[in-house]
């Protein structure tokens, strides 16, 4: 009864805020609505006992997506959108309704018993040296998916960089931030960043045995870097630096190297020799954490806007 009340309240809020965010015409108000929506989703995932996802939503929604959307809104020129013809809107609405109905059918009409490999995962988890079954699935049983996901993040950064004007290629990302009117920000950054780095590393480390892990931890580290940039404590590095590029690629390179080494040592691509599973997974996680943190930070910073060599 009580749990039902909490779940209904969260559901109503999620749907209400989502509808309002879609309907509002002001870009700033829509972004504020989206940030609120992310917070409510964190609660929803927590109620569904999907603690790994709740942590991810807390980190990504709180630290990255809002900032990305806001920076995008600054770059956009104000546009007056003509209203779409009524026929098109009805068609889009119908298609969305069909997709929602399809998803609802998948969720509400499950085959019984639902197919699941969860029991197999739990019984073999010990061989990976991990205590968190979700980390086990991501790093061992579905390692290829995880690998490709890290490459996708890197590709997204290439997409952002491809918007660079020719004169700025190799320069520093992002528009200069006016620091004059930001009294408390530098102090806040100096106080928060050391704490945040410790928490980020803790979340990566605890991910082996409890909810958490490289993506959540890396997002927190990236958020701390973004804070340093927003507070004017540091500038984004010029994207032409080879050391920066090595850092971005380190995670996927280490992942592929371990994966290829698995062919002669353990019999297939991305398989780990059983005795070395834990140290190898740890090595991959550390490399991926650094690469994902750097990639997300630069993704928020955006494409370079100042030509290389020109200092402000």
């Amino acid at each position: 009864m009580l749990d039902l009340a909490l779940d209904l309240l969260i559901t109503a809020l999620v749907i209400g805020v989502a509808l309002w965010t879609i309907r509002t015409r002001d870009d700033f108000a829509a972004i504020v609505g989206f940030v609120a929506y992310g917070l409510l989703l964190t609660l929803a995932w927590a109620r569904l006992a999907a603690y790994d996802v709740a942590l991810t939503e807390a980190a990504i929604g709180g630290g990255v997506t809002g900032v990305i959307l806001l920076r995008a809104s600054v770059r956009l020129k104000p546009v007056t959108t003509a209203r779409t013809p009524i026929g098109v809107r009805v068609l889009v609405g119908l298609l969305c309704a069909v997709i929602s109905a399809g998803l609802a059918a998948v969720v509400l009409l499950p085959v019984s018993p639902p197919p699941s490999l969860a029991a197999d995962v739990r019984s073999h988890l010990a061989s990976t040296g991990l205590g968190n079954p979700i980390a086990g699935v991501l790093m061992a049983y579905r390692a290829l998916d995880t690998f490709l996901e890290t490459v996708v993040v890197l590709l997204a950064l290439f997409g952002a960089w491809s918007l660079t004007p020719d004169r700025a290629w190799g320069g520093r990302p992002g528009a200069p931030i006016p620091t004059a009117s930001f009294g408390p920000l530098p102090l806040f950054g100096r106080l928060l960043i050391p704490i945040g780095v410790v928490i980020g590393i803790y979340i990566v480390w605890v991910g082996a045995d409890a909810p958490g892990g490289k993506f959540q931890g890396a997002t927190i580290l990236a958020a701390m870097w973004i804070l340093a940039m927003m507070a004017g404590l540091t500038e984004a590095p010029p994207i032409g630096r080879w050391r920066l590029r090595l850092l971005l690629a380190a995670g996927p390179i280490v992942f592929v190297a371990v994966g290829v080494a698995g062919i002669p040592l353990a019999g297939s691509f991305l398989a780990y020799p059983e005795a070395l599973a834990k140290p190898l997974i740890l090595l991959i996680e550390v490399a991926l954490t650094l690469s994902i943190a750097a990639t997300l930070g630069l993704l928020v910073a955006g494409p370079p806007e100042t030509a290389p060599g020109t200092e402000l």
């Binding site: 009117s181 408390p184 920000l185 806040f188 106080l191 928060l192 704490i195």
Partner: protein, 97 residues
């Protein structure tokens, strides 16, 4: 002993809820942005602070209690910074309108 602890938790959590209520009412009813900001900071500081104070004896382990205190300290720091930034924008010469 346990009754006293339970009573302490209940009183502290209820007091925290009252501050959240006061903050929300202020946010909705106060006439301008600066007074609303005043209401908001009370909910941030005392509302969450009292709830966490009430949860400390129930947290079960020292490390969890430590994390709860850290959570409160972080929200304090964030609330103070956000309030400063918002107040700067809300000044008559500010740029938040």
């Amino acid at each position: 002993m346990t009754t006293i602890v339970t009573l302490f938790s209940a009183v502290a959590i209820c007091a925290g809820i009252i501050f959240f209520l006061a903050g929300t009412v202020g946010l909705l009813r106060f006439p301008d942005s600066l007074t609303r900001l005043h209401a908001l900071t009370k909910a941030d500081n005392l509302g969450l602070g009292l709830i966490i104070l009430g949860l400390l004896p129930l947290s079960g382990s020292f490390s969890t209690a430590l994390k709860l205190v850290l959570i409160w300290a972080l929200v304090q720091l964030a609330g103070a910074t956000a309030a400063q930034l918002i107040a700067r924008l809300a000044r008559p010469s500010g740029r938040g309108k």
